[in-house]
Symmetry: C2
DNA sequence: TTTGATATTATGTGCATACATAATCCAGAC
DNA sequence: GTCTGGATTATGTATGCACATAATATCAAA
């Protein structure tokens, strides 16, 4: 016959939220150590595992830094992570309700470019593909891509029909990569393809895809001005 | 006398990697159900908990979809998630090795703008702040910000000295927000501040910060062309 | 055929426990 | 004083178990 109030037992989400609240309220200011997992477990009346789950989640969000033996401290510079969903181009366009269109502009073996935004370069000769993506018949983005020439199945890939974007994602394994945005003036060819004035501002997305530490493909996508990439905090 | 080779016991990372490998190798093609946690646990000779940890991690990466009772299936459209680290401007600049500089351009109470890229608008009157961030003495980015006028402490905030960017992050709690990139032609004022030609392309980042569902602040950061935002896949 | 209650199933979460690992502290050797 | 190696400590991970929850499947009643 304990005086146990039988309050809803804390789940890891509640603990996470409560800790977040305390951090935001400055109960635990930036840079400060917060109580040990064991202490929190006792306070919340749950197992250490549960507290661990909560704190791990906050660490993934960048709100706290955790180190073995060092304990958990509130992140000094709360580097927020924004998450950006990258879909294949067709998906991206169809999601807006528009009809997707695709046209191959050129394709051929070439020496890869020297500089790739992500760092290293290609090992071998490359397939260079330029293509255009349409939304409701209007040019939407130019895809300018180099692909490692040694990828299996590349010779048979039907790039007249399917965008390299799509083919690669569905046929070639990769382990990671980098991605960068920039604003530029449209190059003449690109402007012509996008059907915009010669020096209009365009949004470019450079993506380098790696398999291990080998560059599989590098692509520059060029969007007309006005296009927006959305992410959530 | 089993033929047990006493191989290093599988940790959740190994399991995660092995599953990822199988998915990439198309052992389990997109859309396909993969074996149950229990089955995998048996195969890998570990507890279900461990498999759960691995699969959960893959689900967070968007590589698989999991549903109770429905099982785990390989994501049909492998929406990759790119993660973008957002630091405060000073940090961002100092990280490149440059010296940070800041100048307040204007500040005053104004009616908030009607359209905010993130969706809803402000409830009340706003503080409108325009400021410039410098890297090694050269203009780096323009910060054009609206702040909910009712935030506590706002009147005393020393925006001549500290950027709103920094002050807000360190003083005002928030729960989430959205963020979007676009390329534009620099508006005349902005071009002047950035010391670039009148219609140069610029990269803009619009950020809306929420606390619950109330808009705390909305900001447009304008970077000179050539600036890159990097993210990792 | 439809409906709705019920059983089944796969994942989700929590707990107690144990051990692993990294970082730090600290005593003792030199 | 400095260095080194072990004790200490907080987090990291794994396990077996139990029960929760959501979604489906099944089957009987209307």
């Amino acid at each position: 016959m304990t005086t146990d109030t039988k309050q809803a037992r804390a789940g890891w989400r509640e603990i996470r939220d409560e800790v977040r609240r305390r951090i935001h309220r400055r109960d635990w200011p930036p840079g400060e150590l917060i109580p040990h997992e064991t202490a929190l477990a006792e306070e919340f009346g749950c197992a250490r595992t549960t507290v661990n789950r909560a704190l791990r989640s906050l660490a993934e969000d960048g709100l706290v830094d955790r180190r073995r033996k060092g304990g958990t401290r509130v992140a000094l510079h709360p580097v927020r992570r924004a998450v950006l969903d990258i879909a294949i181009m067709r998906q991206e366009i169809e999601d807006t309700g528009a009809t997707y269109g695709y046209r191959l502009v050129q394709s051929g073996i070439e020496r890869p470019p020297a500089n790739i935004p992500g760092g290293k370069g290609f090992d071998a000769s490359c397939l260079h593909v330029v293509a255009l993506h349409f939304a409701n018949g209007a040019p939407y983005a130019v895809e300018n891509r180099w692909i490692d020439g040694r990828l299996p199945g590349l010779d048979d890939a039907p790039f007249e029909r399917i965008s390299a974007n799509e083919w690669l994602l569905e046929n070639i394994p990769y382990t990671g990569g980098t991605l960068s945005f920039a604003a530029e003036q449209a190059a003449p060819d690109t402007a012509r393809l996008l059907d915009i004035a010669a020096e209009s501002p365009v949004l470019t997305l450079d993506r380098v895809t790696l398999d291990g530490d080998r560059v599989v493909t590098a692509v520059k996508l060029t969007y007309r001005a006005g296009h927006r990439f959305m992410a959530r905090l």
